[in-house]
């Protein structure tokens, strides 16, 4: 029998606000345990949460970018459960009136398949604290620094049919949220987390099979592998005449398999009710219009613009716009009068090469658009040759060192004095009479050797074009 996999996603994204959702503690990642906490986020009795304005703004902006309708009158609800990562014993979330509903995200998989993923809803809520078990004392340590960091949870309809579609969606989601500036979406720091709901059914069937929910997926790679594993596990169960149990399963990266979590965690009854401490929200038409007007240019729009305005190849524009920081870097260099094609070539070649060699992301790099613009200008003016410019780039990349100072200190400026070049060529001819004779006898190869020798004599600082022309001219005079 042929089977079809049906997948829906629940993605939690930490918002890039400065403060927590209901108190003024910092949201900064890390920090010594329980130092980014106050009576509100540690759930002390008698405290009153007050919503951070920015959270509402970011949630609405994310919803607009995902083509959702906005719930103009919305409120928060209380989700009750006892677990020590939640000191209040409830999470303030949204169940009945989520801020955004009914969105649509067009995706394109690596294989070129295009489809639209429907968004069921997007709601605001608070993050929980972090629990670390200490085996030495056999007790669990609770750190509430993360408790109260604002989250949006984005729930899709079960519209995915394979891992490729899931990855394409997550990449699109990450790029959109980064362009909006509402989240940095760093999976390794947990600011983008994804739960995968998966079931299988005979191909052609319209009914859904029993689904499982997978947690602890910490990278796109883990998500793809977990999907493949879990679909196979469910198909095998059914083909053996067994039944899939609706449960939460934990992905184990090392064992490359999913395992059922305690059944207690599966049987939840959250007893939601309206959150009495947060008054309802009403979003005015003016606010909504303003948020809409503030939507930035997204990756696709930039790609199209770079192709039409700058004549860049589609592939290059895709690479540059994949990370917002890289697109910003490119635009800043162009704004500093760099030729767009040159800037693109440098970014595609040298900048991305350095980033991948160092395992870095563009947004963490020190190297500035001004330095790149300076390098491009020096090459354009004939004061540095391209190869030397690359060496300067490599030297200044890490700390964004001063390009001009480096060139000066290492005497790298191109030799533009025609007399110096001519003198070097004459010396090379005198030292290599056989090569000169070879060339005159028709051996083209000898020409390259003479160029190389001349460049070496000038310590690589001459313009290759000037050297070529000088050698050609002098050979003709012989």
């Amino acid at each position: 029998m042929t089977w079809e996999t049906v997948i829906g996603l629940e993605t939690h994204v930490e918002l890039a606000t400065k403060t927590k959702i209901f108190c003024s503690c910092t949201t900064e990642f890390g920090g010594a345990p329980n130092t980014h906490c106050c009576p509100v986020c540690t759930g002390m009795p008698g405290t009153l949460p007050v919503l951070n304005k920015r959270v509402l703004e970011f949630a609405v902006k994310a919803g607009l970018a995902l083509n959702c309708s906005i719930t103009r009158r919305c409120k928060f609800d209380r989700k009750n459960y006892f677990y020590p990562d939640l000191p209040k014993a409830y999470q303030i979330s949204q169940l009945y009136l989520p801020i955004c509903r009914d969105g649509a995200v067009p995706i394109r998989t690596e294989a070129g398949v295009e489809k639209t993923i429907r968004i069921h809803e997007l709601h605001m809520e608070e993050d929980a604290g972090k629990l670390v078990h200490d085996p030495w004392i056999d007790q669990t340590r609770a750190d509430y620094n993360r408790c109260g960091v604002p989250l949006i949870e984005i729930v899709t309809e079960p519209d995915f049919r394979c891992a490729d579609e899931v990855i394409a969606y997550l990449e699109k989601l990450r790029s959109t949220l980064q362009y909006l500036g509402v989240s940095d979406c760093k999976m390794q720091e947990g600011s983008l987390r994804c739960d995968v709901n998966l079931s299988v059914r005979p191909a052609g069937s319209t009914e859904f099979g029993t689904r499982t929910e997978m947690k602890n997926l910490n990278s796109f790679k883990a998500i793809a592998r977990a999907i493949q594993y879990e679909a196979r596990r469910q198909i095998e169960l059914i083909e053996e005449g067994k039944r899939v149990i609706q449960e939460t399963r934990r992905w184990d990266e090392n064992k490359d398999a999913t395992f059922a979590m305690r059944s207690k965690e599966n049987a939840q009854d959250y007893r939601y009710f309206p959150e009495p401490d947060i008054p309802p929200l009403e979003i005015s038409q003016e606010e909504l219009d303003r948020y809409r007007a503030e939507q930035p240019e997204m990756a696709e729009a930039k790609m199209a613009r770079y192709q039409t305005d700058y004549g860049l190849p589609a592939y290059d524009t895709q690479m540059i716009t994949a990370q917002k920081a890289l697109a910003d870097f490119f635009e800043a260099a162009v704004a500093l009068d760099s030729d767009p094609k040159q800037a693109s070539n440098w970014i595609m070649g040298q900048v991305m090469g350095q980033l991948s060699a160092r395992g870095m992301e563009a947004k963490d790099m020190a190297f500035s658009p001004a330095s790149l613009a300076r390098l491009i200008a020096l090459v354009k003016d004939g004061r540095l040759n391209r190869n030397t410019a690359v060496k300067v780039f490599e030297a200044v990349f890490e700390t964004d060192g001063d390009v001009d100072a480096y060139v000066r200190e290492h005497s790298l400026e191109q030799v533009s004095d025609a007399g110096l070049v001519q003198k070097a060529v004459e010396e090379v001819f005198a030292a290599n009479p056989k090569s000169v004779a070879d060339y005159q006898a028709g051996k083209q190869k000898a020409f390259g050797f003479l160029v190389g020798q001349t460049m070496a004599r000038l310590k690589g600082r001459a313009s290759p074009q000037v050297v070529n022309e000088t050698i050609k001219a002098l050979l003709e005079q012989l």
Binding site: T35, L131, Q139, M261, L281
Partner: protein
């Protein structure tokens, strides 16, 4: 609505309460009375009434996204039953 002792057990388990036998019987009766009052409310036609979640006519109470100093850790841990100077200690919960 008829309240059973099983329902009381379920609700008290959710609330992490362990009721002695005599309280269990008393709660069953009291909860049934409370639910009976809900029946009175249910008898009313509310089809044209908007659900109310908050009593006071207050809306959009928000603050600016400006960081203020957090509380001192020692003060936060002061009332915890088992702090270790840095964190709140709780019984093993992580699998």
């Amino acid at each position: 609505m008829k309240m059973t002792e099983e329902m009381v057990d379920y609700v008290s388990a959710l609330a992490r309460l362990k009721l002695p036998e005599e309280e269990r019987a008393r709660m069953t009766g009291e909860l049934e009375q409370i639910l009976a009052y809900m029946d009175v409310l249910n008898a009313l036609d509310t089809s044209s009434v908007e659900p109310m979640s908050h009593v006071f006519p207050v809306k959009n109470v928000m603050r600016e996204d400006v960081v203020l100093p957090s509380a001192g850790r020692a003060a936060l841990l002061a009332n915890a039953p088992a702090p270790d100077g840095e964190a709140f200690l709780v019984p093993r919960t992580v699998e």
